[in-house]
């Protein structure tokens, strides 16, 4: 009864918590829905085939997207023969894919996948015009706008090839005659079993199980491409990060909202205690209020999340955090989970506030002044310091590599939590010194501002904390991202000894005829199927770019292999030993170990020609040119070394930067709500102060000026503290990074962004406090 009545009566003081919680839960439920929908999907182009057999798949570590070993050509041939003989199987189709990108109007088309024509039946895709491709012909996606009979230039790994369009099809991709596709294709890892009409699929699956691993139904989703798998993995990190951050910040802001509310209502709690409420009942009451707010806010947030989730899905695909074809489906479980989670989070958030409320003694009802001089609890000290330490440690230990998002998140969250906890101790003394300039003037406003900010510890801390947290995190995270990116660029610039670099332009990589010296990055497989990352390169190339060292001239022989030191040690391989491997095309070879290499970026090095002959589909990432650059042809362009160093990894950097901005925007939104909330809530408690100020002869303008200046001071204080706290961590990161990379790494901080964030906080704080004061005191 009391909880309900209180929430209804004092809705203003709960509004901030409500908004934060709704916002947080909208984000959490959206992320949960997206995560629930982000599982692997059966690729559209294979969806029409009920049964697949696949090559053995290895368990891979999280975040590893190394390929599995394909079947050898002989195995594929015998499997096709055996599988075709199964009763009910109309056709056994090996899934062959390769790089094939049509050039239309001189520009590479967005579609870049090529397939053997027989695989069109796996979707199935049907001819919309023309006929199946013969030698020298191709069937293309009808959306490309090509009509049968026209000629089209198609980029393949070996260079552009001109085909005659023989037909169009209602699915994406370029289809070649099977005989022509086979030599261009990567190894076969799956064979689709097209069933005859009315055939017993279960029986087919059972019969096929005698020859290889069988995939049916949703199990076929493991056939999705490695690229899609990787994109989904990135998306999962982003979504998880967003959900965790939202939940954590919600807890902190809701907790502080309730804490301020409790501090303002000590007299009321005292009264209740005096008329017979036990501490337990007071706690129950605060929890009850939280429950009312929590249930309402979470319901609103989850509803909003469900409505906005499809939009989020589209955005995720657009920015490249989810593969094309991803759509958020509305399912009840994530929504119910978010709702329950939101309510529980609210209760967790008010834990501390409820304890504080329960400790109010009955005598508080009789106290005249509200003096708040209780020391900070020890537990808060300990957890505050511990979280700060954890955050900074995580930031320092970050190596700027794959786990970046996670360690950045831990750093941010640690510092957020730690500073939020410690703010009542940290903020007042800083306020004292930072407001020193205000003692200089003779005006009343300066004096009032300084004294108010110093004495209203709680309000000062409550306003400065969200600013401190936001600005601190923004400086830390954006600085970390940009500094690591700049560091990698610096490393590249110092290790490339070429005059120019050819880079892909609208294509996933370079063909063999783009010019310059390039290496190929692929994999070979050991006898047990374990992949070894492999670079196929010429000695010239390795001497031009990178700092690989070892007997590189051995790569002039096609039967030699150079191996990384760890591999030599682990497998006991000495020069002269034989390393049996199989390649991407499924064929095997016995390579002679010619020595070990350092700084090779791969487990083994072989000659470029050897790798190309066994992996017909792989593309080079870039090519180095000494002297004058040749015309690279369509799908590639020439840049100078400095430009290359800055823009390489641009795609990855872009994803990380978008993720970073997302985090910063979300946390700024929270800080904004928290600031406005604090201002509105504390305005009620200040009415008397401001009235006294008016009665003492202050004009309304002076009152507003005082209030605005005070909030501006507090915001600047929080921003300054946040920056000061983040900078050492950044310097630490830079130091560790520079040492690891053995080069000079500049510290890059996006100051315009930070300045913009501070400005937003300033406007919000000053605006909210002046508005609140004006409405409470009148003119």
């Amino acid at each position: 009864m009391l909880s309900f009545a209180t929430v209804r009566e004092r809705w203003q003081s709960f509004a901030g918590g409500f908004v934060v919680l709704s916002l947080g839960m909208a984000l959490v439920s959206m992320s949960a829905l997206a995560l629930a929908s982000a599982g692997p999907r059966v690729p559209d182009r294979l969806a029409g085939t009920p049964v697949f057999v696949s090559a053995p798949r290895l368990d891979r570590a999280d975040g590893s997207f190394a390929p599995d070993r394909p079947w050898s050509p002989e195995t594929v041939a015998s499997l096709v023969e055996e599988l075709s003989a199964i009763p009910g199987v109309a056709q056994a189709v090996p899934d062959r894919a390769f790089y094939a990108q049509p050039v239309i109007g001189g520009r590479p088309a967005p579609s870049e996948r090529g397939h053997a024509w027989s695989t069109a039946t796996l979707a199935p895709y049907r001819l919309t015009a023309g006929t199946a491709p013969r030698k020298g012909e191709t069937v293309v996606d009808r959306s490309l706008g090509l009509t049968p009979g026209t000629e089209v230039s198609v980029l393949t790994a070996r260079g552009p090839v001109t085909f005659t369009v023989s037909g169009t099809v209602d699915g994406p991709g370029v289809f070649l005659n099977d005989a022509e596709a086979a030599p261009l294709s990567t190894g076969v890892r799956a064979i689709g079993l097209v069933a005859e009409p009315g055939a017993d699929v279960a029986a087919i699956a059972k019969a096929a199980g005698r020859f290889a691993d069988v995939l049916t139904g949703d199990g076929r989703s493991v056939l999705e491409s490695r690229d899609d798998e990787r994109t989904r993995w990135i998306g999962m990190q982003i979504l998880t990060g967003m959900a965790v951050l939202s939940a954590l910040v919600s807890v902190l802001v809701v907790g502080s909202t309730f804490a301020v509310g409790v501090a303002q209502r000590r007299r009321e709690f005292g009264l209740l205690r005096a008329v017979g409420a036990t501490p337990r009942q007071i706690r129950a009451m605060v929890y009850g209020e939280a429950l009312v707010v929590g249930v309402a806010a979470t319901a609103a947030g989850v509803a909003a999340g469900a409505l906005l989730a499809p939009v989020l899905g589209a955005v995720l695909v657009d920015v490249g955090f989810e593969p094309a074809g991803f759509a958020v489906a509305l399912s009840p479980l994530p929504l119910a989970g978010s709702f329950a989670g939101g309510v529980v989070l609210t209760l967790v958030a008010v834990w501390s506030a409820s304890r504080r409320a329960a400790r109010v003694g009955p005598l508080e009802a009789l106290r005249e002044a509200e003096v708040d001089d209780r020391p900070m609890p020890r537990l808060r000290w300990i957890t505050g310091l511990a979280s700060c330490a954890l955050g900074v440690a995580s930031a320092v230990s970050s190596d700027g590599e794959g786990a970046f998002v996670m360690s950045g998140l831990v750093a941010a969250v640690g510092v957020i939590a730690g500073l939020a906890l410690l703010s009542p101790v940290v903020v007042p003394p800083v306020a004292h010194y930072a407001s020193w300039p205000f003692t200089r003037g003779r005006g009343a406003v300066g004096m009032l501002v300084r004294e108010n900010a110093r004495t209203a510890v709680r309000r000062t801390a409550a306003t400065a904390t969200p600013v401190l947290v936001t600005i601190g995190c923004a400086v830390l995270i954006t600085g970390m991202v940009q500094t690591t990116a700049a560091g990698f660029a610096a490393v590249r610039a110092t290790t490339i000894r070429a005059d120019a670099v050819i880079v892909p332009d609208g294509t996933p990589g370079l063909t063999d005829v783009s010019g310059g010296e390039s290496s190929l990055f692929s994999a070979v497989f050991e006898a047990n199927g374990d992949p070894l990352s492999t670079i196929g390169a010429t000695p010239e190339l390795l001497k031009t770019a990178g700092d690989t060292s070892g007997p590189l001239d051995e790569l002039r022989h096609d039967d030699r292999v150079l191996i990384a030191e760890w591999l030599a040690e682990d497998r006991g391989l000495r020069p002269g030993a034989v390393l049996p491997v199989s390649f991407e095309d499924g064929t095997s070879a016995r390579l002679t170990v010619a020595g070990t290499v350092r700084n090779a970026d791969a487990d083994v090095l072989v000659s470029r020609d050897l790798l190309r002959s066994h992996d017909p589909a792989v593309l080079a990432d870039e090519a180095y040119v000494v002297g004058t650059a040749p015309d690279p042809g369509p799908g590639a362009r020439v840049v100078d070394v400095a430009a290359y160093a800055a823009e390489a990894d641009a795609e990855e950097d872009r994803l990380v930067w978008i993720a970073t901005l997302l985090l910063v925007v979300v946390s700024t939104a929270y800080a904004g709500v928290a600031i406005v909330n604090t201002m509105v809530m504390s305005a009620a408690g200040r009415v008397r102060d401001l009235e006294v100020l008016r009665l003492s002869g202050a004009t309304p303008r002076q009152v507003r000026g005082t209030v605005a200046a005070e909030s501006a001071l507090v915001v600047l204080l929080g921003a300054g503290l946040g920056t000061v706290v983040a900078l050492p961590a950044l310097f630490g990161i830079r130091g560790a990074f520079a040492e690891a990379m053995n080069t000079d790494v500049p510290l890059v901080i996006p100051w315009p962004l930070i300045g913009g964030l501070v400005a937003v906080c300033l406007v919000l704080a000053a605006g909210a406090s002046v508005l609140a004061a004006t409405t409470k005191v009148g003119r």
């Binding site: 009391l2 209180t6 009321e268 009264l271 005096a274 017979g276 036990t278 501490p279 003694g361």
Partner: protein, 235 residues
Amino acid sequence: MKVRLEAVRRTYGTVTALDGVTAGFAAGTLTAIMGPSGSGKSTLLHCAAGLDRPTEGTVVIDGTDLGSLNEHGLTVLRRERIGFVFQAFNLVSALTAEQNVALPLRLAGRPAAPELVRRALAQVGLADRAGHRPSGLSGGEQQRVAIARALITKPAVVFADEPTGQLDTQTSRQVLGMLRRLVDDHAQTMIMVTHDPVTASYADRVIFLEDGRVVDEFTGALTAETVAARMAGTC
């Protein structure tokens, strides 16, 4: 004796607020505690009512030694056996008059029968204001709601701290007359702290405090004039 204080001392750090007060309060009487600012009269009330614990000495209410109770026991005793009327900030602003009156019963987990609540409100002349929130009530009405709430549990004793401190003369007289009637008609025991001779004149007995000690005490027919005269004599 409904309430008995035995050699009660209360010190705050080096300040002695009560310095060995012994006093008894008989059933069905209205006692006023008077004294100048800082004389310890509020501390006496807090200790007697179990809102504060004495440094030394014992307080017995209705046969229960408060020193033997823990915080929970003390809360329960306050809820069951004691009623409070404060100077101000007396009502929970979110609740209606009716709900405020029913609050102690609800907190005790007892059924708050509507007719019981309404009778309590009728007793203070507010039967028709049951559904109003404090913001819709005058100061005198608010204080009467607080009195109805203090009485709802049929307490052994009602403590009032400057019950008319924020009321005008007219309203004060009404509220005090009502308190007096409760003592006379229902044999309610009541102890109030005041610095106002007019308020004290409604009491059966007046106790004067100074520097934490009882310095004077008198009973009999009291008028504002006699009380004021006695005050002038002691101070």
